[in-house]
């Protein structure tokens, strides 16, 4: 297929030399400055994030931009409440010497972040930061990074992840991207494009031009690659899209529609549905050997397959019991058992990266829900609902989900548009993800290495 974009992307990883900035007390036991994110609703932690200090105007500009990205990330997580900088008493310059903790306690900032941006003689950008517990008067973490200046945003995300992890004890999810389907035009002939952006909406890019209908993209866990459904030449088939080169390639040579693709956790296999003579079953194709395996063989619809993080089990959607429900089978297709037994119809099972939960879309009495249940089918919990909510995808830390929400449409073609949302696993902190045009079918990337 013709490549849509030939522009190779810069290597995403930061050529980082991470230096641990130690001061006395840095290794002290964690004081009260922690957030237990397993609880339902948490009071956001007041945190003062000061502009990273720069000695030159250019360095100071990087410092300010980085601080803004960090502050927005932490605020959006719902776990932190960045203090209004206008309340700050101590200046960024004097902070370079040592925080006056009382100045920060008096404005009720329990945590303080300061840092420094520096342009090195070799052209690299050095960014360092420290996190302080203002009540214990201790440094909790201090790190420095070296990178090409144009990677400043990614450094901001990496620092956000470090702060999140130090305070919550959980891995972060800020240094990630989202691939999704951008939507525009009439509902009857919707134009759909593959699009990609950072998790905060920055660096947005369309990957296809909208001439061909594309659906349901998913990230490879290991490569800069996406698998998705394309109607290229009116032949709906599963494709691979290389994000670096823009190259598109059909997966396998199948006699019918292939759809609902997903990578295996090692990235070597694509699992998908193949429709033959009207019946959809689940198949895998090894991307190295091109070997195809049929996993289900049932006259019912079998679709939306997805692996457990250890690759040993597969959750999927089937109507073999009379209505769409969730099933799990071993990776070889054996030992099929149903796990959803609640009221309504269940679809799109997606295993949490932690392995402890399966997220799903549920349809009951004309409403759609996003929920989670344990892989044994117990502990069902509904997180959000609406006229149409669909397609949950997990942040790599398994604490946040993204999905899309479609509004009802009318006969004049108004409404019927969809947007992306994120929500905490707790069911709190639902937020719209701002995209340039309509959006659906989000897929969250793993942490960028």
């Amino acid at each position: 297929m013709r490549p849509f974009s030939q522009r190779p992307r810069e290597p995403a990883w930061i050529a980082a030399l991470v230096i641990v900035l130690c001061t006395a007390g840095a290794l002290a036991a964690r004081a009260e400055l922690t957030i237990d994110i397993t609880r339902g609703r948490v009071e956001p932690l007041p945190i003062a994030i000061t502009d990273f200090y720069g000695e030159t105007p250019e360095a100071a500009a990087y410092g300010r931009d980085i601080t803004q990205v960090i502050s927005a990330n932490l605020e959006r997580s719902g776990l932190f409440k960045p203090t209004d900088p206008r309340a700050f008493i101590q200046t960024a310059a004097s902070l370079q010497v040592r925080p006056r903790f009382s100045d920060w306690r008096v404005i009720n900032a329990q945590a303080l972040v300061n840092g420094r941006a520096q342009l090195m003689p070799d052209g690299r950008l050095k960014v360092e930061f420290r996190l302080w517990d203002t009540f214990a008067e201790q440094q909790m973490i201090g790190l420095a990074y070296f990178t090409a200046p144009h990677n400043w945003r990614q450094v901001a995300h990496i620092i956000s992840d470090a702060l999140y992890k130090r305070i919550t004890g959980e891995d972060g999810y800020f240094n990630t991207r989202v691939v999704y389907i951008a939507e525009s035009g009439s509902p009857k002939n919707r134009i759909k494009q593959l699009a990609i952006m950072d998790q905060d909406g920055a660096n947005h890019r369309f990957l296809t031009d909208g001439d061909t209908l594309v659906l349901t993209p998913r990230f490879s866990p290991t490569a800069q690659e996406i698998t998705y459904l394309s109607y290229y030449q009116d032949q709906p088939r599963v494709y691979l899209f290389n994000i670096d080169t823009g190259q598109q390639e059909v997966v396998g040579d199948f006699p019918g529609m292939t759809f609902a693709p997903r990578f295996s956790p090692d990235g070597n296999t694509v699992i998908m549905s193949l429709a033959r003579n009207g019946n959809s079953d689940i198949y895998t194709m090894d991307l190295r050997t091109r070997r195809v395996k049929q996993l289900t063989s049932h006259p019912a619809i079998d679709t939306s397959p997805g692996y457990s993080p250890d690759g040993r089990q597969i959750a999927f959607n089937s109507d073999r019991g009379g209505s769409p429900q969730l099933y799990i089978m071993d990776a070889d297709g054996r030992n099929v058992r149903r796990i959803s037994f609640g009221e309504g119809r269940y679809a799109t099972p997606v295993w949490s990266p932690r392995g402890d939960l399966v997220a799903f879309t549920k349809i009951h009495k004309g409403r759609f829900y996003i929920g989670v249940m344990r892989p044994d089918g117990r502990g069902e919990r509904l997180l959000t609902d609406g006229f149409l909510v669909e397609g949950p995808t997990w942040a790599p830390n398994g604490r946040v989900l993204m999905f899309f929400r479609q509004t009802p449409g009318d006969a004049e073609g108004k409404g019927g548009t969809s947007q992306l949302y994120s929500i905490d696993l707790t069911g709190y902190n639902e937020r719209e993800i701002i995209t340039p045009i309509g959006a659906s079918d989000p897929a969250w990337s793993p942490l960028i290495p």
Partner: protein, 168 residues
């Protein structure tokens, strides 16, 4: 198909001209408007060239409808498909694709599978009625291409459909 639509008005003009030169001109004076209207309507129907999409649609309709989450053919759908079979028998060179569609009240991937079932059950009935399976392709659009806009039962009923599209 696009070509035929362009051709349509020319055919209509020719037919109207034929009417005007008919030997009995008595009807022309009585209720001129009504006569012209019916002549035009007749012309529109006659405009479809035999063996084209417009011809099929005019004679039998181009679509059949399904119940929610079902792909079994209801009696009106069977009747339509019997018409298609007769029509395809009449034009043995014609090939076609059957599109399967779903309403918006299911998930995207499940609806792709459901649309595939609907297009295939429609095709299978045509084959059972004697049509060569190699003449009929299938494609599922799931919920991606609704025929009618709106989020209500009336619109959804129109969108759960199989559509016979004559190949150009």
């Amino acid at each position: 198909m696009r070509f035929n639509r362009l051709l349509g008005p020319f055919v209509a003009v020719l037919l109207l001209a034929a009417c005007e030169t008919a030997p009995e001109e008595t009807a022309v004076t009585t209720g001129e408007g009504a006569a012209a209207e019916s002549a035009e309507m007749a012309a529109v129907e006659a405009a479809a060239l035999p063996g084209t999409q417009d011809d099929l649609t005019a004679q039998y309709g181009d679509r059949v409808f399904f119940d929610f989450d079902k792909y079994s053919l209801k009696p009106p759908a069977r009747e339509t498909i019997m018409g298609w079979a007769a029509w395809l028998g009449e034009f043995p060179a014609v090939t076609a694709t059957i599109q399967g569609h779903a309403d918006e009240r299911g998930t995207r991937e499940y609806n792709l599978a459901l649309g595939e079932r609907r297009s295939t059950s429609t095709k299978n009935y045509l084959v059972a009625l004697g049509i060569d399976p190699n003449r009929i392709g299938t494609i599922s659009y799931g919920k991606e291409r609704p025929a009618v806009e709106g989020s209500n039962e009336a619109a959804w009923a129109q969108n759960r459909r199989g559509v016979l599209v004559v190949s150009e």
